[in-house]
């Protein structure tokens, strides 16, 4: 399975050339997202769900809450599990089979943003210490891949968590689901030394590197992940943080 597709030299030169002038193929500004939409509660059988669209990219996230066993080192805390499926429905380059490094990376980057920001108060999700706790499964389903899956999946996951009403599961005693923060991931791509947010598929195919920065409401950083085969300078990383801080605040508005 490939996240990057073969690009003709003509197209590559065109995108790189535009980037040099601070322009993009779809006439966006470098610091502009494609149109973002968040719809929640579409899946009645899930405790929470959200469909996020960023341009043509679509990711559906579903939250399921079930009883399970705690980890030995946190006997009375709930368990968070994030899984991502890049199914062949979403792209001609996605193939059937077990999760590959791209879906694993996607799931783990989304997971770290939620886990490290302590967006869910897992300590409240114990049932019987050492025996039973609530498991929170977030499953991310890519439906249409036109670049920047990380931001779409991350936004969908957090939107789905906030969509969990008082779970209709047997034995649930809390008044509400303990979700307390809204971490937001912003991916910045670098093309020929220029930084841009929300890379489209074409831009992702020619970019040197990307940096995803997940921030919380107080502008602090809770997770980062560099990807791609190029490098970043320290100045570029600092500039990427500034972009992430501003754009995360915008994206967070979609979470209500």
């Amino acid at each position: 399975m490939k996240m990057y597709e073969l690009v003709s030299t003509v197209k590559r030169d065109y995108i790189v050339d535009l980037a040099r002038q601070g322009k993009r193929t779809d006439a966006r500004a470098l610091d502009q997202y494609r149109e973002v939409s968040v719809e929640t509660g579409l899946i009645e059988n899930a405790q929470g769900s959200a469909l996020v669209k960023i341009g043509n990219t679509q990711v559906l996230a579903g939250v399921k809450i079930q009883r399970g066993e705690p980890f030995p080192d946190t006997p009375s805390s709930g368990v968070l599990m994030v899984n991502a499926e890049l199914r062949p429905i979403a792209s001609p380059t996605f193939e059937l089979g077990p999760p590959d490094e791209n879906s694993i990376e996607l799931a783990r980057v989304v997971d770290r943003g939620i886990r490290e920001s302590e967006a869910i108060d897992l300590d409240k999700l114990g049932i019987t210490p050492d025996e039973e706790v609530w498991m929170v499964y977030i499953d991310l389903h890519a439906l249409d891949y036109d670049g920047n899956l990380i931001d779409a999946a991350s936004l969908a996951a957090v939107a789905a968590l906030w969509n969990v009403k008082k779970p209709q599961v047997e034995g649930w005693t809390l008044d509400e689901f303990p979700v307390v923060k809204k971490p937001v991931a912003v991916t910045v791509a670098k093309i020929d030394g220029k930084l841009m947010v929300d890379p489209s598929l074409d831009e992702q195919n020619v970019m040197d590197a990307r940096l995803t920065i997940t921030t919380t409401e107080d502008d602090n950083i809770c997770a980062m992940q560099k990807g791609g085969i190029g490098y970043l300078t320290v100045e570029e990383i600092k500039a990427a943080y500034e972009l992430a801080r501003i754009k995360a605040a915008e994206l967070r508005k979609h979470l209500g």
Binding site: P99, D100, E101, I104, E105, A107, R108, R112, R115, E116, L211, D219, N220, I221, C222, A223, M224, Q225, K226, G227, G228, I229, G230, Y231, L232, T233, V234, I237, K238, Y241, R245
Partner: protein, 241 residues
């Protein structure tokens, strides 16, 4: 072992280090017979081996690229390398780490010189004590050089983090488990650019900037040790001439 009361006492860490000190570091080049290049790294209690095979004909053939070699990295932890036996084989963590390590090396290896070939980097963690991916990268860089693979630069790597509200270099396992933040970084030491950056935990923007600076200083020390390891193997000593 439970959570220590404090991880930093009077400005010193539990193992006696200051905040900006590396653990004892040992690097040896060319430790395996059959591999084209290899290296062994000890960083504190970490013991990591790296081996490079290639450039060589790439199998399966459908992966071959007509204009370039492909670089493959496999990070693996031995089942006995951690407290609780680790189930052998790749898990989600090691698949992700293998990916980011490969991406850390892509900018330095002249892959275009070897069309249709593969360059395989195998990293085996024999004993783990936090910072295994950084120790693995440091070993792999020396192993690639030992294999004679043309490179633009070495790659040097270290983790920084936040422990008891202090920014510290090269976290131990307890500091990683009970501290606030872990941020592994890999750097090209001559060009001073970053090819691996991951972070989880909590940083204010100011802490983040200080952490990056500290990491880059740490990488420079590691770079010196990597060069020494290569010189120790390849420089001719006057008495042998």
């Amino acid at each position: 072992m439970g959570k220590p009361e404090k991880l930093i006492v009077d400005g010193k860490r539990l193992d006696g280090r200051g905040p900006d000190e590396l653990r004892p570091l040992k690097i040896e080049a060319g430790v395996l017979k059959r591999a084209d290049g290899s290296a062994y790294v000890e960083l504190g209690k970490n013991k990591v081996l790296a081996a490079v095979y290639g450039p060589r004909e790439l199998h399966p053939r459908h992966l071959q690229q007509p204009d370039t070699a492909i670089l493959r990295c496999r990070y693996n932890m031995a089942p006995f390398s951690v407290d609780e036996r680790k189930r052998p084989g790749p898990d989600r963590r090691s698949v992700e780490i293998s990916k980011v390590i490969r991406e850390a090396f892509e900018p330095v290896v002249f892959t275009k010189l070897y069309p249709r070939s593969g360059i395989d980097v195998f990293i085996e963690v024999l004993q783990a004590d936090a910072g295994t991916r950084t120790a693995g990268i440091n070993a792999a860089a020396v192993a690639l050089a030992d294999a004679g693979v043309p490179m633009r630069d070495l790659v040097s790597s270290v983790a920084v983090g936040k422990v008891d509200d202090m920014i510290v270099l090269d976290l131990t396992k307890d500091e990683d488990n009970y501290g606030t933040t872990d941020m592994p970084i890999a750097m090209l030491p001559r060009k001073k650019v970053i090819t691996l950056l991951q972070m989880d935990g909590h940083f204010t923007p100011e802490e983040f900037e200080r952490a990056i600076e500290l990491a880059m200083k740490g990488c420079e020390q590691i770079y010196e040790a990597q060069k020494q390891a290569l010189k120790a193997k390849y420089s001719t000593k006057p008495e042998e001439e």
